[in-house]
Assembly symmetry: C2
Homo-oligomer: 425 residues x 2
């Protein structure tokens, strides 16, 4: 492990952008992590005393007597932290100076919370019209459900994905990671950056209102259309794609692996590679439609062959033939995966305790920017770690929040400067 963590991993297309991040737990922090990975300066506004709820969530790193949340570190890498008592006049004044200098506000409270603090979207749109103001909530800020609490599990259930995930003869399963939070975080990032783009033309901020349930519906692929056209309720299909075959797992002699040969040409290549070209001529398997209809016979025919040798044998063989296939990797396999390593996808994050934790890096690879060194951990902030530096900057009145960090950036910072009107809570 190296010893010099980096505050911000690298330059990126959002250099010069400052995000005030009121969000906590997962959807908001994952969204602002994406923004930070792309070069934005993200300042976490945390609750005095305890900070982001996840600062005490497991898995906990225990290093030289300091217990620290790896959960928090993963999603808050490369951010700064200031703890504020939003109800105190002094901290409100500070915050209002920060609004004037920032570009983006992100929050994921239940609708109404920011309004009660005096910093709702409508209010800030009047006092600081340059701000892009993004909310992520369970159901969005409009509609009859908007006041209900929404969590990942709730929208995974309500939005349909659980009804499609798992085996038909078992109860619905959850997607193994927080698909509800992460999906919403990604749509929020798209909305925020699109609004920043628009702002370069008209100097106006925007309101971005993301509902996790909406995002779930948007991620249902063709499930809605299938019901609308065919009248049958789509259900769980275990490990196979509902409308492609073969596109599922098969048992080799030492375990299960995936073959995904979803068109006729790939199926022909597969049949040849397996040494059974006659499979591709079988009248039951002549088209994808026919193969879907005779799926169980197809699976049986393929398994009769692949069960005679270990997975690695078939994967090597199919890779040479150009047939998509894969082992079902457990998480431990990702750390040493040659492709993920070559793509700099395993990075280290490090908090106060000074014990680095490995997690996944930024998958948005941009030619114009140099990837950070994966051996150097990216710093996640201690609670309130940057208070003094931020105060000093604000008091110095340098006028440009991002200036200290982005003076050598080739892109013009887009910070438009604060409005003349002071915020009146």
């Amino acid at each position: 492990m190296t010893t010099t963590p980096e505050l911000r991993p690298k330059r990126g297309p959002l250099d010069g952008i400052t995000v005030l991040d009121f969000s906590r737990v997962l959807a908001g922090p994952y969204c602002t992590m994406i923004l930070a990975d792309l070069g934005a300066r993200v300042i976490k506004i945390e609750k005095l005393g305890t900070g982001d709820d996840t600062r005490v969530w497991g898995p906990l790193v225990d290093h030289e007597g300091v217990k620290e949340s790896a959960y928090f570190m993963c999603f808050n890498r490369g951010k700064e932290s200031i703890a504020l008592d939003i109800k105190s006049p002094r901290d409100r004044e500070l915050l209002e100076r920060m609004f004037a200098k920032a570009d983006v506000v992100v929050e994921n409270f239940r609708p109404g919370v920011m309004e009660r603090l005096g910093y709702g979207a409508e209010h800030l749109a009047r006092t600081h019209p340059h701000l892009v103001y993004a909310s992520i909530s369970g159901f969005g800020h409009t509609g009859p459900y908007s006041d209900l609490p929404g969590y990942d599990m709730v929208v995974q259930a309500m939005g349909g994905i659980m009804s499609l995930t798992g085996w038909p003869d078992s109860p619905p399963a959850r997607v193994g990671t927080s698909f509800g939070d992460l999906g919403a975080a990604l749509f929020a990032a798209v909305g925020i950056i699109a609004s920043l783009y628009k702002r370069t033309g008209d100097a106006q901020g925007s309101r971005v209102d993301i509902g996790m349930l909406d995002c779930q519906a948007a991620l249902m692929e063709t499930a809605l259309a299938r019901f609308d056209v065919e009248g049958e309720v789509p259900t769980r299909t275990g490990d196979s794609h509902p409308s492609l075959a073969p596109f599922e797992t098969f048992a080799a002699s030492d375990g299960r692996f995936v073959i995904a040969a979803g068109n006729d040409q790939l199926f022909m290549l597969l049949a040849e590679a397996l040494g059974s070209p006659e499979l591709a001529l079988d009248t039951r398997f002549l088209s994808n439609d026919l193969r879907c209809r005779h799926r169980s016979e197809l699976v049986k025919a393929i398994e009769t062959i692949v069960s005679t040798a270990p997975m690695a044998h078939w994967i090597d063989l199919l890779n040479v033939a150009g047939v998509p296939c894969a082992p079902i990797n457990t998480i431990d396999k990702l750390f040493t995966h040659p492709q993920l390593r070559a793509r700099n996808m395993i990075v280290q994050v490090e908090g106060e305790a000074g014990r680095a934790v490995r997690t996944a890096g930024n998958p948005i690879k941009l030619g114009a920017f140099v990837e950070s060194d994966p051996r150097v951990p990216i710093k996640s902030p201690a609670l309130n770690e940057h208070r003094e530096a931020i105060l000093a900057e604000l008091m110095a009145g340098t006028g440009d929040y991002a200036a200290a960090e982005s003076e050598d950036t080739p892109t013009a910072p887009s910070t438009l400067g604060g409005p003349a009107v002071p915020a009146t809570p």
Copy 2:
């Protein structure tokens, strides 16, 4: 059903942006659908004769003798289509005029295909440096796996999500929709729009290289960190969150529903709402950590209560108490869901056949733009439908591709105009 489909659903922050979309099937088209939903003009460059592979994929709408793919319609709404023979000199000349006028190129071929056509990223970066050039592929354009074919199912297996999804005593399950494609599409959209933002500062395009496997790793939440810290391989947890309890499904008298009470306060509210405040004082259930450790006893204690009445009873009761909960909805329930309807999340798409199909709309709700009328179908293009209009525009040499459509937009179009250097294939 109404009768006047809309080519482009509404104005949006990407008004004035033109995308040349060489992509087909899902990851690319889903990405450019997001761009189109945000106001970009997306021109699909399709294969002469057959077009996008999915034009013949089910579910098929059969209307007045025309069979048409609802799969295609869903992800290509609001786009234009031109079919080109990229190997013919005449069509290449056309294409090069289009590159000069466009802002973004998106492709999801296997690495090498665009290069062989003479339109690889490096080449276009020299001839048309203003272009944002985005590739989505299974493994990205670098690294030892970059030449392998990657499909959704392949990266779901290789990237770890299957090992986490399903029940511990059943084989790994696939996420019920194409998580591999959709995740990559979203990260690609983020990378493209961030690059457009950067371009407003330095007038330079970018290379965006998205690998589906990278995106899978990025979506593993804390699974990597959990293994790194605790040394145990994370596995499938069925319908529960691995580190929150209660956060899973429970059997009411008429079916299963979700309760997500992941912190002490919510657990207390839950216990009270269920009429068993003593649950919150039980020493086994005093903290989230303890509740996770005694999960099976906790589930049993709660199910003893909730199994006495139907789901709706408990959901009403918990909603009033402020405890997150939800029915496990099947897809048919989404069409009439009051919140999704209020948020304009059920839209119609319509192709040549003139039979509208319902699907999910755009979840990025932007205050500055008016939502389109969900009763008016959004048009998906017939193969080559816009050839003549596009040719006429190019021949007229109006100089700005998007001008015809965006002349009344309040935001300045960002089209930078073509470079002086002609493309030399």
